[in-house]
């Protein structure tokens, strides 16, 4: 291509030219093009600058790359916090996110299925995203699709409280090259490069994102070690002391496609990962975790055959949880009662000069193959069906520690300084055996348009697990296009949550033991929803839901010992409503907001389930106050978080969280700069720590104080 930037105005060159020759401003030019397409948004879609709307499935919430910029997010958690009925709480372990949908809370958040490009990134050891999650950067995200409520009839295990599907950018989304960087509070440095182009007849997308931070350093006033200190007269606790939130992340992805074929590969490398407020709720500045998550898939999609759509996919996912520096469950100088088995338990007090150290590491691989069919040959029916097979393997477990029984001697491991940790991997003293799980499944769904404006979607999925057996999950949705501007939906869905390997097989743990006889948790949900568009510029959504969560897996105390064993024990029932609105108030002003209400009760105890907020309100403005200048303030109110069973603390304090982002696009056409302030009013916001009497971290988990981020990117 030859390219000559001709410095010329139409005005000047037309001196003496024809009468129609008037100067044409950039705005007029763009308006003229918009006229044929309708809006700038439509120009984007029609010019292939963005994925067509047709590709977006009709589901609860779709957050686009443009929305993410308005939110001013630097990590996916900040984006998900804007979804109605979803509140991101924090696990003491690494401050990992707990995506709490509609009051459904658990420490490891196994009730949420998270996928990247439709493929789960679940780690079977914890049943969640790994203890070394470390967040997910947002520059390579094209959109995030969030379904609230169960979806096991489509997605299988863990599509329970909600499903989060992250769609990464393809060549069409990037189209060119983007380079950028960000600096921010807590010594945060980010850099990224994206490229979308063609190579040897392939559409190619490459993404590289780097994130390094010392992490927010809010103070934890007291921890579990503080309690031990009080009981035993020691002073080992590091509280009050800061959280440990350092991160060193690298995310790289490749996407190649040609014709019917697509190949994707990726790496999420995590290192220098500080464990938040401690694995055992005792501050641990020593430990650093690491993790490598590799993924690859090859997908074949063909809709050339009359009435048929075929999708074949094979994927591979490998995930690890590794220790870079000793995982110090309790700090140096801790004194703990140690039983005859060398574990914490009834026995004489033992002092650990280097701390109570255990370094469990796991490596997993997951292989999945699937074949899906869609048939549209019937006038009133759209059929979908599929089969698949998954193989999940925890193929390596390694652990070294300074407690427990030394398998070589049969005596308790000594804890004295200078003595190296004892590697008990692969012995009777290890923490988990190497295990695997095979899953075969089959699903069928029919969308039946039985009358104009009415459709009934009914489907079911059967899963057969090699460890816990079979599960069958139906769903149904009746949809009525009631009016030009109103759609009503009545839905029923069921789901299951597979027990994690930890819950089934963990051994030699001072507090928790696995149970191979566990059954999956189950969920049933009924929901009524309305979508109302009173004017072209205003969209309203309203829904009412009611769910029954049964066979909840909990660690129940064993008789006559200090341990607890995983059991299916517990039922939670919840109901609530969500109202959302999107209003294009003017050409340059868009307002997005939602309100969510929920009540969840622990059936056995007949009291509030705790942790999750009863009310959430979210409001965001995007105001283009000058061409290419965007100001996006947003606020979220978190209100009404009761304590759960056995926790006598006062309810967690409400908070109002405000962020502001200022963005300037098209600086010299190629450059974009943005500046964000998060927690603008520097409120002391906290998420609930785990229940206890007394609670291990009594004053809950502090969120970051006011912080600042500036970024610049160039696209060419």
């Amino acid at each position: 291509m030859m390219f000559r930037p001709l410095l010329l105005t139409c005005c000047g060159c037309l001196i003496g030219a024809a009468a129609q020759a008037q100067p044409v401003s950039q705005e007029e030019e763009e308006r003229a093009l918009s006229q044929i397409y309708g809006t700038e948004e439509m120009v984007s879609i029609a010019s292939g600058y963005k994925q067509p709307i047709s590709k977006a499935p009709s589901i609860a919430t779709v957050i686009t790359a443009a929305d993410i910029k308005q939110i001013g997010a630097t990590d996916i958690d900040e984006v998900l916090e804007t979804v109605p009925g979803l509140h991101v709480e924090r696990n003491t372990i690494g401050y990992n996110p707990i995506y709490t949908f509609r009051g459904i809370f658990s420490q490891f958040n196994q009730q949420v299925l998270m996928m990247v490009n439709g493929i789960p990134i679940t780690n079977s050891y914890t049943g969640s995203r790994s203890e070394v999650w470390g967040g997910m950067p947002i520059r390579d995200i094209a959109r995030i699709e969030v379904v609230r409520g169960p979806g096991s009839a489509v997605y299988g295990a863990d599509a329970f409280a909600g499903v989060i599907n992250v769609i990464t950018k393809t060549k069409q989304d990037i189209e060119g090259t983007e380079l950028g960087g960000r600096v921010g509070s807590f010594d945060t440095y980010d850099g990224w490069g994206l490229h979308g182009g063609e190579w040897a007849g392939f559409d190619v997308a490459l993404a590289f994102e780097y994130h390094k931070t010392a992490g927010q350093d809010s103070i934890v006033d007291a921890d579990l070690q503080s309690q031990f200190d009080r009981l035993l007269g020691t002073s080992a606790s590091l509280a009050p002391g800061p959280l440990n939130m350092s991160r060193d992340n690298l995310d790289a992805r490749i996407d190649l496609s040609k014709g019917h074929w697509r190949f994707r590969g990726g790496l999420q490398h995590r290192s220098d990962f500080g464990n938040g407020s401690g694995i055992a709720q005792a501050l641990d500045p020593v430990n650093r975790y690491a993790s490598d998550r590799w993924n690859a898939d090859i997908t074949y999609f063909n809709n050339d055959i009359e009435n048929w759509e075929l999708t074949s996919q094979a994927s591979y996912f490998e995930t690890s949880q590794e220790i870079e520096r000793n995982l110090t469950l309790f700090p140096a100088g801790t004194t703990l009662p140690i039983g005859a088995n060398g574990q914490i338990g009834p026995g004489a007090p033992v002092t650990f000069p280097n701390g109570y150290i255990g370094n469990p590491e796991v490596w997993e691989r997951h292989v999945r193959i699937s074949q899906a069919f869609a048939y549209n040959g019937f006038q009133q029916h759209h059929l979908r069906s599929g089969i698949g097979f998954n193989y999940d393997s925890l193929f390596k477990a390694r652990v070294s520690q300074n407690f427990g029984i030394d398998p070589a001697t049969g005596t308790p491991i000594p804890s004295l300084p200078g003595i190296p940790l004892t590697d008990v991997s692969g012995t009777a003293s290890t923490f988990i055996p190497e295990v695997d799980r095979k899953v075969a499944y089959l699903f069928l769904q029919d969308q039946w348009n039985f009358a104009n404006d009415w459709s009934l979607t009914a489907g079911a999925r059967y899963d057969r697990y090699s460890d816990f057996g079979n599960t069958f999950n139906p769903r149904a949705a009746l949809i009525w296009e009631a009016r030009y501007d109103l759609t009503a939906k009545l839905m029923y869905g069921s789901a299951f949550r597979a027990p994690s390997f930890q819950e089934m097989y963990i051994i030699n743990n001072p507090a928790q033991l696995g149970n191979a006889a566990l059954r999956p948790e189950t969920m049933e949900n009924v929901e009524l929803g309305f979508d109302y568009r009173p004017t072209d510029s205003l969209r309203l959504g309203l829904n009412f839901f009611n769910f029954w969560w049964k066979d909840i897996i909990r660690f129940v105390p064993d008789a006559n010992t200090t341990t607890s064993t995983a059991q299916n024990a517990g039922t939670q029932q919840g109901y609530g409503t969500e109202l959302e609105a999107e209003w294009q108030a003017a050409d340059t002003l868009k307002i997005v907001g939602n309100y969510a209400y929920q009540r969840s009760r622990d059936q056995a105890q007949d009291r509030d389930s705790g942790y999750a907020p009863h009310h959430q309100v979210y409001l965001r403005l995007n105001w283009e106050f000058l061409p290419d200048w965007h100001l996006s303030p947003q606020a979220k109110w978190i209100v009404g978080r009761d304590r759960s069973v056995g926790d006598t603390r006062k309810p967690v304090a409400d908070y109002t969280w405000v962020d502001v982002t200022l963005r300037r696009q098209n600086v010299a056409k190629h450059v974009e700069v943005a500046f964000s302030v998060r927690n603008l009013f520097d409120v002391s916001a906290r998420e609930p720590s785990l229940a206890g009497n007394p609670a291990a971290i009594p004053n809950d988990l502090p969120l970051a104080p006011r912080s600042f981020y500036g970024e610049v990117s160039i696209k060419f």
Binding site: F3, L8, L14, S44, S58, F716
Partner: protein, 314 residues
């Protein structure tokens, strides 16, 4: 920095081309002249350029109209220096320079809405969708339609309507075209038509220009009425499909690039010179499936595959 780099690269290529000799006698050196616009508008021009390059089998020269220098002679001199054979202008600003450039080069106008009287003696393809294509799709999607009603602004759309009348006759459709001078009159006309339409044998065509349609108040009323009475509304404006019109046709930028390149080559052929404006035939179809299902329309999967864009049920 980057335009500058391209400029250098372009210059080298320009200098090298004549040395290649012979080849350009068959494949002319084609330039595109287009205004400096932001994304996503810029992608429209880039996609057209890609289509042209595909058709020509070689790169085209890019000449960006940006508002800092005011010398027409410079453009013409640059085109001459670069040994350009034929010039394709894109956008309103491209149209504005077309006349001056046509004194020295064969010119083809594209990527803007053009009336033939605006550009007498020049060749071009208007962005306006050809009514033939519009009616073909209408017949395919809703075979029951016998009559099409349109309210239009004669100052902007008269020649298009003449064209449409011919196209309708050829397809055994009756076109009822009612001119309107202003928004107030057009609102009255629309309301009258809404009363008259009883079933889906009559379809309402919403033309592109703003003068005949109040987007804020009248359009929702028309679409609501169409929903309740089960009649077809189709539009020359893509965004109307998102709002509930059954379908629209919108430019296939790549295909348009190929057609513009073909027309450019034709301008150099002895006796082949085309001196008029064509309506756009390179079009893609967008369909609102919620509206289609409400109307009880059933499409074969072959037809569905032709939908370049669909708007899903909410």
């Amino acid at each position: 920095m980057f335009p500058r780099l391209f400029f250098q690269l372009g210059l080298v290529l320009c200098l090298l081309w004549p040395i290649g000799g012979g080849v350009w006698a068959q494949t002319p050196a084609v330039a595109i002249v287009y205004p400096d616009v932001r994304e996503p508008y810029r992608s429209v021009f880039m996609e057209i350029a890609r289509g042209m390059e595909q058709e020509l089998g070689k790169p085209v020269g890019h000449y960006l109209l940006s508002g800092r220098d005011n010398s027409a002679e410079k453009l013409i001199n640059d085109l001459k220096n670069d040994r350009i054979d034929v010039v394709v202008t894109l956008g309103r600003a491209g149209l504005a320079v077309a006349k001056s450039v046509s004194a020295e080069f064969p010119v083809v106008i594209g990527a803007t809405m053009i009336r033939p009287d605006e550009v007498q003696g020049l060749a071009g393809i208007s962005l306006t969708p050809a009514p033939e294509a519009m009616f073909d799709h209408l017949k395919k999607l809703v075979p029951e339609v016998k009559k099409v009603t349109v309210i239009y602004d004669p100052r902007q759309t008269a020649w298009e309507i003449e064209h449409a009348e011919r196209a309708a006759r050829e397809r055994s459709l009756t076109l009822v075209a009612q001119p309107t001078a202003n928004l107030h009159d057009s609102s009255d006309l629309f309301r009258q038509i809404l009363v008259e339409i009883k079933d889906n044998s009559i379809a309402l065509w919403l033309p592109r220009e703003n003068a005949a349609m109040d987007e804020q108040s009248l359009l929702p009323e028309v679409l609501r009425e169409a929903w309740e009475k089960n009649f077809v509304v189709f539009s020359s404006n893509l965004d109307h499909v998102r709002k509930g019109a059954l379908f629209s046709l919108y430019p296939d930028n790549f295909g348009m690039g190929r057609s513009l390149a073909g027309l450019a080559v034709q301008q150099l052929q002895a006796g082949g010179k085309f001196e008029s404006v064509k309506l756009l035939q390179d079009l893609l179809v967008a369909v609102n499936l919620r509206t289609a299902e409400h109307l009880g329309l059933r499409f074969s999967s072959q037809t569905r595959r032709e939908f370049a864009m669909v708007f899903p049920a909410p």
